[in-house]
């Protein structure tokens, strides 16, 4: 979900643009009965917009998913990446670029649906979805009629901690408030994820719009602030990976990725419950689909069908398996799940029991704008709390006055000198 390494943030621009020869045979196994060949030679290009490091790209012997798609279908793919849902949203909203496939997270999909920025997917063109998508991921809260999205991955927020320096077994979010670990705690550097943890501790819904509950959560975070070493997002890779902090909340897939570099680390899903998130493939609105110009409309229709072909391809068992092995998150694809190592399938953090998921986890939904703004305001208050210097403003005024007086006096003296 979040970008894997800071380097990938630098490659936000186009990654894979060129496809070699369109006649080469693909190496990927696909289910029979689907015509992947129908757009070959028709000069179709798909713009795919995804999280950084969020697809199997052929490195270290993995499958080059995009390259194989181009070989298989003859469709060109222009692949680019975004570092956060909000970045993606502002790009989409500003109309800077037209994308054919995007893979945002749950609440953002809810927001896009609400703002009429997504096309309905014609699932007749995506037979693999009905065949392979795990039933428990159908009709999610963010897309209740399941017309706009096809889940790609899912996961939970967990606690990542350094077992070599923490003696006890961490089981609760309360550990992030434990004074024993003062100065060694990392915290999310975005309001939604940070507030969610406080809300869970207080026993409120992650999606509360009640200002009183939000305020209580903010107060809890202010209480925590003196113990926090730093508020981080991707920096957590560096900090936890190199043992610069003891304990941090993070997304489970990324946490596994970090654990590969530092074997001292351990993961837990707190007993109070946690946030369950999903990233899903969607097709952004293409205004040309309603165009009066026949040619443009036809082109847009072909593009949309090609996008559906892409989603179907991503739901091919081999492709889904390669992707999930590459990005370490959990898959909603039943075929790929069955082929995973037994150890992974039984991992209580990657694939928690259905019971835990229904009872103890909650997905984000899109919040009303006022709530988002209120939360942002609280977040700023949290950030500036503790170092409220009542002298700051008066001092600034004094400095301004002093500088003004100084320059005026200086001018005056100079003028007198010149006149002499």
């Amino acid at each position: 979900m979040k970008i894997k390494k800071i380097i990938s943030a630098l490659s936000v621009l186009a990654l894979a643009v060129t496809s070699l020869s369109t006649t080469a045979f693909a190496d990927v196994e696909v289910d029979g009965g689907y015509d992947y060949d129908r757009f070959r030679g028709k000069n179709v290009t798909l713009q795919v917009y995804n999280w950084g490091e969020y697809i199997s790209d052929g490195s270290d012997g993995s499958l080059d998913v995009i390259g194989e798609f181009e070989k298989l279908t003859g469709i060109d793919v222009e692949y680019s990446t975004f570092p956060s849902n909000e970045d993606m949203y502002s790009v989409l909203k500003s109309g800077r670029s037209q994308y054919d496939i995007i893979i945002p997270s749950d609440y953002m999909i809810g927001k896009l649906i609400e703002e009429d920025m997504l096309e309905k997917i014609n699932f007749d063109n995506v037979p693999n979805f009905t065949k392979y998508c795990d039933k428990k991921f159908l009709n999610p809260e963010y897309d209740p009629t399941n017309e706009y999205s096809a889940p790609y991955t899912w996961g939970t927020v967990c606690i990542l901690y350094d077992a070599s320096r923490i003696d006890e077994e961490i089981t609760s979010w309360a550990s992030l408030w434990d004074e024993k670990y003062s100065g060694q705690i990392l915290m999310f550097n975005n309001p939604r994820d940070a507030m969610a943890i406080a809300l869970i501790r207080l026993g409120y819904s992650l999606n509360t719009t009640d200002e009183k509950e939000l305020k209580e959560a903010a107060d809890l975070l202010i209480e925590q602030k003196p113990l926090v070493q730093a508020y981080v997002m991707d920096e957590v890779y560096d900090k936890m990976g190199n043992s610069n902090a003891f304990i941090a909340p993070y997304y489970v897939g990324d946490s596994y990725w970090i654990m590969e570099t530092n074997p001292d680390l351990a993961v837990c899903i707190p007993e109070e419950g946690t946030n369950l998130f999903a990233d899903a493939m969607c097709i952004p609105k293409n205004p040309n689909l309603d165009s009066n110009n026949d040619e443009k409309r036809k082109e847009a229709q072909i593009k949309k069908e090609a996008a559906e072909m892409f989603i179907n391809y991503m739901y091919e068992t081999q492709v889904a398996l390669e992707n999930i092995e590459y990005i370490c998150y959990s898959t909603p694809h039943t075929g790929a799940y069955a082929l995973l190592d037994e150890e992974v399938r039984n991992d209580p953090f990657l694939y928690p029991s259905d019971e835990f998921i229904t009872e103890k986890t909650e997905a984000y939904v899109n919040l009303p704008q006022e709530t988002n703004r209120y939360m942002d305001q609280l977040w700023t208050e949290i950030k500036i709390s503790g170092d409220q210097n009542k002298w700051a403003f008066p001092l600034m005024l004094v400095a301004c006055v002093a500088i003004s007086v100084f320059t005026i006096v200086r001018r005056f003296i100079k003028k007198r000198k010149d006149n002499m």
Binding site: S90, N189, N242, D376, A392, I403, R410
Partner: protein, 270 residues
């Protein structure tokens, strides 16, 4: 007429990419979500006094440190052989060829509690020192990233100071302190002013440095603006309002600086 025509490409560029965006910032800053005139966002600025104060304060420190580091270096550079100057300038510029983000990220690894510097100090029995997530680390990041912008204008002004001017002052009995105060500093003033502007303005509005090296709790104005635009609330209006206030602050500081304007100030940028 002809010379005006030649300026047309830039004038068009400026109109489209400077004036219009500036107008948009003011438009957003002075309206609410629905596009009605409103100063609510501006009135909320009082809440952020500390952030403004901290940003300006840290930027001032960084600018002063840059000046102290860059001034002697620029002078020494300007007195070197021409081919040596080329090499030295290259060394000054070299870090700038690397990506800004990578450079800052590298500092993170250096300054961490278990980072490179503390490990080396550990060998000689010192530390570990708490260096990252402090305001000092932010200033360090600013100085490191922006010091070339101080060196270059100083250097280009100082190469124009003729050695014979310095010699003349010495012939007339000035000691080295007087040469510095009465000849070199006055003649290099335009470079000082340009350097200060070019370091102060990006420092005061930076956000990535404070996030990476300041641990996210030392919020600066840049962080605040970024949060409005790329955060969950997508509040362009508030972001624009903060930008306006920041611009006014910078404008004020620059106006005060220009009070030091003297006849010999030609050649200064801004």
């Amino acid at each position: 007429m002809k010379s005006k025509l030649a300026a047309a490409p830039y004038l068009i560029w400026m109109a489209v990419f400077t004036i219009v965006p500036l107008g948009l910032v003011f438009y957003y800053g002075l309206t609410d979500q629905d596009g009605n005139f409103s100063i609510d966002n501006l009135s909320r600025m009082g809440m952020y006094t500390n952030i403004f104060f901290r940003s300006i304060w840290l930027a001032v420190i960084a600018t002063v440190v840059c000046l102290i580091i860059a001034y002697p270096l620029a002078f020494i550079l300007s007195r070197m052989d021409t081919h040596k100057q080329g090499t030295m300038l290259l060394l000054v510029m070299l870090p700038m060829w690397m990506n800004f983000l990578l450079r800052t990220y590298a500092w993170m690894t250096l300054l961490e509690t278990n980072g490179v510097i503390n490990k080396i100090l550990g060998f000689v029995g010192l530390g570990p020192f708490e260096m990252i997530n402090t305001q000092g680390a932010i200033v360090l990041g600013m100085v490191y990233n922006y010091v070339p912008f101080m060196i270059l204008p100083l250097y280009s002004v100082m190469t124009k100071i003729d050695n014979s001017v310095i010699e003349a002052a010495q012939d007339l009995g000035s000691n080295s302190r007087q040469v510095l105060m009465k000849v070199i500093i006055p003649l290099s003033k335009p470079g000082i002013m340009t350097g200060i502007t070019m370091v102060f303005v990006p420092s005061v509005s930076t956000f990535i440095i404070s996030r990476m090296l300041g641990g996210g709790s030392n919020m600066l104005i840049g962080d605040l603006i970024e949060q409005q635009i790329l955060g969950t609330s997508y509040n362009l209006n508030l972001g624009a309002s903060i930008s306006i206030v920041l611009m006014i602050f910078i404008f004020m500081i620059m106006a005060v600086m220009n009070q030091f304007d003297d006849e010999e100030m030609e050649g200064m940028i801004i």
